[in-house]
Each structure stands twice: as structure tokens, then as C-alpha cells.
Symmetry: C2
Subunit: 398 residues, 2 copies
């Protein structure tokens, strides 16, 4: 616990935003920092939650504890709708209150005596939960890295994917695609290399597909599209960015039955025991909403919300490109990853943008040393807000 | 992980119930096993969840991520309504998706290098999460105990409260009152002794008050009624049994600012970091319901549901007492704890009751070796079901 640095990144961003609002009480602050959804949830989905809540006040409709692993119908719908061609089974899906919570439960499964690799930059929860569980050594101020973690650099020089030829073996490899923060969706070829690498090394991949609904090209939607992945990978995902459920809370983890320890014992059995001991299931009201997200009509409604965020990303990309900046991501993810020229630290750029335009972003360095020099800009927002942000950015960098 | 015994108790009970239903497909099985609420949630409470769900489909009412620690209004309402005379502050309350989940987060806070004490018998999650986090040694088949855990025997001989004069010092003491499974509410004097013991030893008490709403006498409702408790105790609680939220999911943990490590660092700061790293807040829809539970009208409606369960407990107590059995609990908790004469194991008694009356209970030994010879019977159920159960028990033990 003592090793853990500072505050959690997004809490720190929120703290700085609050400070800024106090300093400029009349400023129209635009929040493109923490990747938080902004568009209303389609009514067909909230209606099913309303219906479930009403039922809980009736004798016939009341229910108490549900299965810790999630309602059977929802587990099956996730398998059928989101893993159609890769044959994930309903009982390999563990419904949860969100991907971040699942990551810490997976860390509990793995314990402290193992080695992990993360993309650099990466979503901070992989490292922070690893530090909490005791997997890491001390933090080095100079390198900005923890000991005992393998940081796999991902930048423009390697198409934002780890160079596996120079990556040492670790027990666990965290990989997020489409990536937060870089917005890069791993290609089929990249993922094939990764699965091969994990198979050869006896490593387990923890694949975070939280942004898969934003993929607009033919990049794989799930790691299980890659042959052999079921023997080496766990997939963590969420309704947060797919259905605007960031505050509603619903996610899932897929543990294939084929995934085994070196001694042949299925990992799914252990994960099931953890879920039953440390968790009591996602809210039944919320699960009813999740089921409707996966209905034909619910899914269509969500696609239109996502299209809207994608259009936002395009506006931001066009704006920043027109200013001569190097812009990545945004095509398969709701995040635009911008390289700033010069040697200013990304926290300085973050502060400059905030001070001069009242726009909250996230400094790349917050995601690890490999993010230095970059800024992540979120495409979540109402259209007018995104247009206003573009206008301000144009003025700042003209 | 390998040290952990069998399945989680309540999962095992459910498995046996399913098996029984398959064996006797036409039997009218009565479930008084897993302590699961059965009565509808008062409409005033579900209405506020309906309202919140509807708002999420509007531009004005939509919201994304909330504070990981819970909505400010709910934190304050918990402090004001449930800790009225003990001056808990809103920012000492961490709202969660349930007490069981909080216990595993507290275990993460504490880590593996410490010693714990639990009541014997006790709610199995304290031990099981401790085993998962690596606090314990091997399980001894003969004693039915894990190494490195202090089992504090609680039975009729010591008024169901640990004999602290023979209890060795541990870093953490788990105490549940009103107790699950014994139904005993610790008296003020007992809790004063405990706080004194923890203070003297530099131990932290993790006080589980999940059943506090069932107290009908003047036993303390919270550990913080005891002077000095804020320096040595954390309290974990839940809306599950208080508001029928077992499937809806909402709980909280109180960490007083006065509670510090030996080096003077406030524990609340570390817990806050864990909550922000491993959790993303309880569902916003559910929190809206929680807030209404604490309104005047919502609270009154819940008290009437609880009175109904209390009446159930009285019926069970009267029935079992009339059969000449020794019956404990039930007055301050929804559980009746029954001693069976003779040397049969509690799993045998469980099986006999199930086979001959189709009533699911929980064998005392499932809660630890100190529960051997007892059966826990839950008072959650519709009145007719409880009356029918009483009838069957009378026939069995007449």
C-alpha cells in the first residue's frame, strides 16, 4: 500500500478540475478528461430497468439474491450476441458491476507471486491494483516505473503495439484493445503474434475490450477471434462505454474452460470461487437493463449513440490535424491521442490547455512514462460542446 | 487459493437444495437456508429508482460516473439517520455494492502479513477472504480450522461473546452483531470490553452490523456508541436485510478519521485509495433508492417489513421451544439458532430436516467448528410459509 504513488489518476484530474472551477468560477469549463459518457440511455433500455424496479414492489416480481455469476439469461445473451462466431458459452461469462472491479478480482485470483506486463501507456488500474496486491517492487522516481513490472512501450514507432521480440516472459500480460489511452485497435496480425507469444511462454493474457463497440474497421472485436486464444486469454469488458452505463454499473469477464493452470486445473473454477466469496452479483435492476441492451432494438439504439461519439472523434481529429499536430486514435475508440511537439511535459501541456481554454484533458504521462509528450482527449460530449472545444483549441494552437 | 476448502457455504447449500428438488420434483420445498429476504420493497423506495432510471434517458437527468465513495447526499443521509448520536461524518461513509464486497476490499487494505480473529461460529466470508488474500496457513482436517486464524468460540456458555481473557492479541478482530449465525446482539458491556481489549492491544475491530435494524432491545446499534471505538473500529453494513436489497445491491463502510496506523497515518486515506482503484461506485439508480430508504416515509415502511420478519422469528422460536429444543437468537436478528441434542453432526441434522420436511436450513458447522450441533433457521419468508414450516417441524420432532 505504501508503495502506491499519489492519488488515482482520474481522481487527480477531477481534483484539478475542481480547483480550476474555483479559480475561474464563471468559466465555461469543458470536460474531455475522464472518459465519461454524456448521452442519455435509449429509453427502451431504461424502460426495462423501470419495469424490474416496479416488479420488486410486488409479491410475484420480488427477488432477492441472484446468482453471483449473473442472471443466466444475461450471461447467455452476452455469449450469443457479442461472441457469436467464437463460441463462448454462457457459463463462461461472469457478469459484474464493471470492468475495473473485475480487474481487482482477477488480481486477487492471481495473487502477489507473479510477474505482469502492461502496455506503456496503459489504463492505470492494471498497475495500481498490481501494486495493491503486492506484485511490484518500489517506484523509481527517475524512470517513473515500478520494479517487477514489464512496461511494453507502445508508440507510433511500433504501431502502438508491444514489440514482442524484445519483451521478456511474464506470467500475465495485460492488453487493452481498442486501447485506452492511445485509441489504437490491435490488428488481427498483432493479436495472432500475442497469442503465439503467450502460448510459447505459458503466459495468461488479460484482454480488456471495454471499447470494442467503437471499432469501425475489421480489427478483431474479441481476443477469442484468434485461434488458440481460449487456451491463454481472459477477456474483461463492460456496458459502460457501450451503453452509457458508467454510472449504472455493469460489466463482465469471460474465462474460457480451456484456460488451465500448468497442472491442468481449470482457472474458471478458481475464478468462480472468488466471485462467490468476494462478490454478490450485479444489481438485478441493472442486469435487466443489460439484457435489453443486447436485444435487437436496444442494440440498434446504442449503435446510433456510438455513431454520434464517433462523429465527435472525427471532428476532434480534423481540428487537431489541421493545426499540424500528430493525431492518433479516434477511429476505433472514443479517445484521440495527440503528440505535442517540443519537450514540454504532458502535465504542463495539460495545465496550459486548461488555463487558456478551460478544457480538461488527460496528460499522457498519467498513463505511464510511455505517454509522455501526449495528451488524451475524450470524444464523449454533446456535439455543441465538442464544436466549442474545437474552436477553442484552434484559437490556442493557431 | 489452493488452501481454500470446498465451495463457499451458501453455494453449497444452494447446490444441495437443487439436488433435493431434482430428487423430489413435486415436493413443496421451503427455503429457510441462505438468509434471503422475501418481502416486496415498499413502493416509495422503488419509485425513486424508477424516477432515476427514467431521468437517465433525458438530457437533463443523464449522469455518468459518480463519486467512487458514493453520492454525497446518500453518504450524509447514512451518517445523519443511522449514526445520529455518534457523530459519524458523511465523508467517513463509503457507499458500496454490499457488505460482502466491502469485506474483500478491507482485506485488500490489510494485506497478507497480519493476524486475524473471528467469532466461531461466524459468517464464512471473513475467513474465506482472509484465505484468498493469504493471511492463513493450511486447513486442519481434524480441528476444522485454518492455521494462523484465532477462532473465538461463542456459545451459550459465554453468552455468545468471545472470552477476551483467553483470546490472544491479533491485528484484526472481526465481530458481527447482531450475529450471523447465532442471532446474538452484543450487549453494551460486551462491546465496551471489546473496545478496551482492542485499544490495549493496538488491534482493529471490523464490526459487521448488517442486522442492526433487527435489534428490538437496547443493545448498541453501532460500535460507535462505545466511547473510544472510533480509534479502533471500522463498521461494515448494508441495505440488504434492512431494505430487502439483497438483489438490488447497496452497502456501506464507515472508517472514522480517528482510526490511524501505529505511525499516525489515517487509515481512511488508504481505504479511499483502494475504493478509487478497485471500485467505481454503486449504481446511481440503486443509490437513489437507498436515499429514499432513509427518508422518514421510506424508513417507516421498512420498519413494518422488519416487524413482519421479527414476528416470523417469534413463531419459529415458539415452535422450536415447545418441542423442548434449546433455541437462541431471533429476538434481535432474523436468525434462530437451535441446539440439537445428541451427537449427530449438524450436516446430518440438516440432511434429516431436508429429507423429512423439505425445509432447507443451514448446518451450524458451515459457520465454523463452534457451530457444530446447531442449525440456523432463517426467519425470512412469507407468513404462510413460516407457519407451514413450523407445522412440519412439529411433526418431525414431536
Amino acid at each position: 500500500m505504501e508503495k502506491l504513488r499519489d492519488g488515482y489518476l482520474f481522481q487527480e484530474i477531477r481534483r484539478r478540475e475542481e480547483e480550476h472551477r474555483k479559480k475561474y468560477p464563471t468559466a465555461n469549463v469543458i470536460t474531455l478528461g475522464v472518459g465519461d459518457t454524456t448521452q442519455p440511455i435509449p429509453q427502451i433500455i431504461t424502460s426495462s430497468m423501470v419495469q424490474k424496479a416496479c416488479a420488486l414492489s410486488t409479491d410475484e416480481g420480488y427477488s432477492g439474491y441472484g446468482p453471483e455469476q449473473g442472471e443466466k439469461a444475461l450471461r447467455q445473451a452476452i455469449a450469443d450476441k457479442l461472441y457469436t462466431h467464437v463460441e463462448v458459452k454462457g457459463d463462461e461469462v461472469f457478469v459484474s458491476d464493471g470492468a475495473q472491479c473485475d480487474i481487482s478480482r482477477l488480481q486477487l485470483l492471481m495473487g502477489s507471486n507473479l510477474t505482469i506486463a502492461v502496455q506503456d501507456p496503459s489504463f492505470p488500474a492494471y498497475i495500481d491494483t498490481g501494486v495493491l496486491i503486492g506484485q511490484t517492487g518500489e517506484f523509481h522516481e527517475k524512470t517513473r516505473k515500478y520494479k517487477n513490472i514489464e512496461y511494453m512501450k507502445c508508440g507510433p514507432e511500433n504501431d502502438f503495439f508491444p514489440d514482442l521480440s524484445i519483451t521478456p516472459r511474464t506470467d500475465i500480460i495485460f492488453l487493452c484493445s481498442p486501447n485506452n489511452p492511445t485509441g489504437h485497435a490491435a490488428t488481427r496480425k498483432q493479436l495472432q503474434q500475442l497469442v503465439e507469444f503467450a502460448t510459447k511462454n505459458g503466459s495468461i493474457i488479460i484482454y480488456d475490450s471495454a471499447y470494442t463497440a467503437y471499432i469501425s474497421d475489421d480489427s478483431p472485436r474479441t481476443i477469442f477471434e484468434i485461434p488458440g486464444a481460449k487456451e491463454v486469454a481472459i477477456e474483461v469488458s463492460t456496458f459502460s462505454k457501450f451503453a452509457g452505463f458508467t454510472g449504472v454499473r455493469l460489466g463482465w469477464t469471460v474465462i474460457p474452460k480451456e484456460l488451465k493452470y500448468a497442472n491442468g486445473f481449470p482457472i474458471i473454477n478458481d475464478y468462480n470461487r472468488i466471485v462467490c466469496t468476494c462478490f454478490n452479483g450485479a444489481s438485478n435492476i441493472v442486469q435487466a437493463g443489460g439484457l435489453t441492451c443486447l436485444s435487437q432494438e436496444g442494440y440498434m439504439a446504442l449503435c446510433s449513440v456510438i455513431d454520434n461519439y464517433r462523429e465527435n472523434a472525427k471532428i476532434l481529429i480534423d481540428t487537431l490535424t489541421s493545426l499540424g499536430l500528430k493525431v492518433y486514435g479516434g477511429k476505433n475508440a472514443p479517445y484521440v491521442w495527440v503528440k505535442f511537439p517540443g519537450s514540454s511535459s504532458s502535465w504542463d501541456v495539460f495545465t496550459e490547455i486548461l488555463e487558456k481554454t478551460h478544457i480538461v484533458t488527460v496528460p499522457g504521462a498519467g498513463f505511464g512514462p510511455g505517454g509522455e509528450g501526449f495528451i488524451r482527449i475524450s470524444a464523449f460530449g454533446n456535439r455543441e460542446v465538442i464544436l466549442e472545444a474545437s474552436k477553442r483549441l484552434k484559437t490556442l494552437f493557431k
